[in-house]
């Protein structure tokens, strides 16, 4: 089974975005709809990795949109060349990469848009779409072979 909580802290994807937190009354909402991103003192937080930060419940880090996906991207580390193209293009910051080493997908925030697959330059691609219920090992076992260039 693939790691659905790769590089996640315990708050990542806690709640469904649609449900939100408890819907508060007018007397409980924040002043000016200003939303603090973190719990407690966040001094120096820019130097911490996401999984080390204490995100507040206002931050989308603590929400999940996993259920929005029909298909999911699966990452094949054996083919990947760490070009970071997927990391650059992912519209939801759901490519997890550390020290320019591609690690995998944040499945709490990936919406299955397939952009990462589209921009992957390897042959075969290092990211491919599989149905949501497909497990990692089955998916990897179905990985296609390198395509030969067709002679003109």
């Amino acid at each position: 089974m693939q790691d659905l909580k790769l590089k996640a802290n315990e708050n990542r994807g806690l709640h469904q975005l649609e449900a939100g937190f408890d819907l508060l009354g007018w007397d409980e909402v924040t002043q000016g709809s200003v939303l603090p991103s973190f719990e407690g003192d966040a001094t120096g937080i820019a130097g911490l990795k996401a999984e080390e930060r204490d995100y507040s419940h206002h931050n989308s880090y603590t929400a999940t949109v996993a259920s929005w996906r029909v298909k999911k991207p699966v990452f094949n580390i054996d083919v990947c060349i760490d070009c970071q193209n997927c990391w650059v293009w992912c519209p939801d910051s759901s490519i997890l990469s550390r020290d320019k080493q591609m690690l995998g997908i944040d499945y709490d925030h990936c919406k299955g848009c397939e952009v990462c697959v589209e921009v992957c330059p390897t042959n075969p691609k290092s990211l491919l779409m599989f149905s949501e219920q497909e497990d990692l090992e089955t998916a990897l076992s179905q990985w296609p072979e390198k395509k030969k260039k067709e002679k003109k």
Partner: protein, 411 residues
Amino acid sequence: MAVKYDLNEREVWDGNFAASQALRQAQVDVVVAYPITPSTPIVENYGSYVANGYIDGEFVMVESEHAAMSGCIGASASGGRVSTATSSQGFALMAEVLYQASGMRLPIVLNVVNRALASPLNVRGDHADMYLGRDSGWIQMGAFNAQEAYDLALCAFKIAENHDVRLPVMVHQDGFITSHTAQNVYPLTDEAAYNFVGDIVPVDDMLDFSRPVTYGAQTEEDWHFEHKAKQHKALMDSRPIIDEVYAEFEKLTGRKYNRVESYDMEDAEVVIVGLGTTVETARVAAKELREEKGIKAGVVAIRCFRPFPFDQVRDALEGAKAVAVTDRSSPGGAMGAFYNEVAAALYTTESRPLVTNFIYGLGGRDFSIEEAKRIFIEQKAHADAGHITTDIQQFSGLRGPHLGYFQTKRG
């Protein structure tokens, strides 16, 4: 450290200069502006105070009023003391961003030098722009002369930045009639003025790196209503704090402000309700009519247009017999907006005085003592007859045939 500015105990300042001196004394950190007649000198003077070292602040010229208020929002969200000025078309262009400022609860002070809205183009004073801001969620206060433009600007910072308020405040003055009329102004010393306003203590400021925040969240039908309700309550709850600030200002200067001002109202039967300089001119008319004709005339003025002092308006007017509510803005196919608000308040009284509406003074058309007297005398006729004897809405000071609408169904 700011350079000392020489002030006399008594100055002869116009409303613009007076407002700009309040910005200097409050040591405003940032003014973001796109200057427009007749409010130009306020921000122009601020710029020169910065350039000459009288203020340790930042003057930012932008490409439009929309950008000016946007810049103010950025600076205010960052935790600075922020102000700007505008008028008319500039105010209209700023309108979208005004709602952002109030929704984000940013304590920006906007000096509005009231001017008519085109078309036709007109640079002179009426209240069309002020009315455009009436649902924007800002506190709106009105100055009737240059002294008040100065006093209220100082009060505005103290009210806006109060942590139980945290709302932007507009200080209105009449274009040209106040902004370009030099009158005696008695300023505070720099020290007294600054001590009165105090240091700004930021809330949710974006430059606090120990607590990063998001401004400008999107809230759909599940959250928006609650946020707007909270904002409305903040406006309503600002009323006692405005009163407190006015009381503190009185202690310091002897000049007393009230959210609703009443003049000669102890026994008044006929009343003009007004905004801006009209109030003072009408006061002269009321005094003279009392002496000349024994008419018990009085004037009620709304100092604080938002939050609208519904209860105080009612208290001030329920003893009157006939009330003329004056709207210095083209009503656009309705009764004047100010009339509607005053009439609604009076509808909830036992006495329900006769209330009529005068549209007057558009585009800076002069409002004279004689005109005010004529309005009082008409009110006297209503009071004597026990019902409204004219059209309920009339245009006053207009050339051409009489223009008026609707007759009473009472009496």
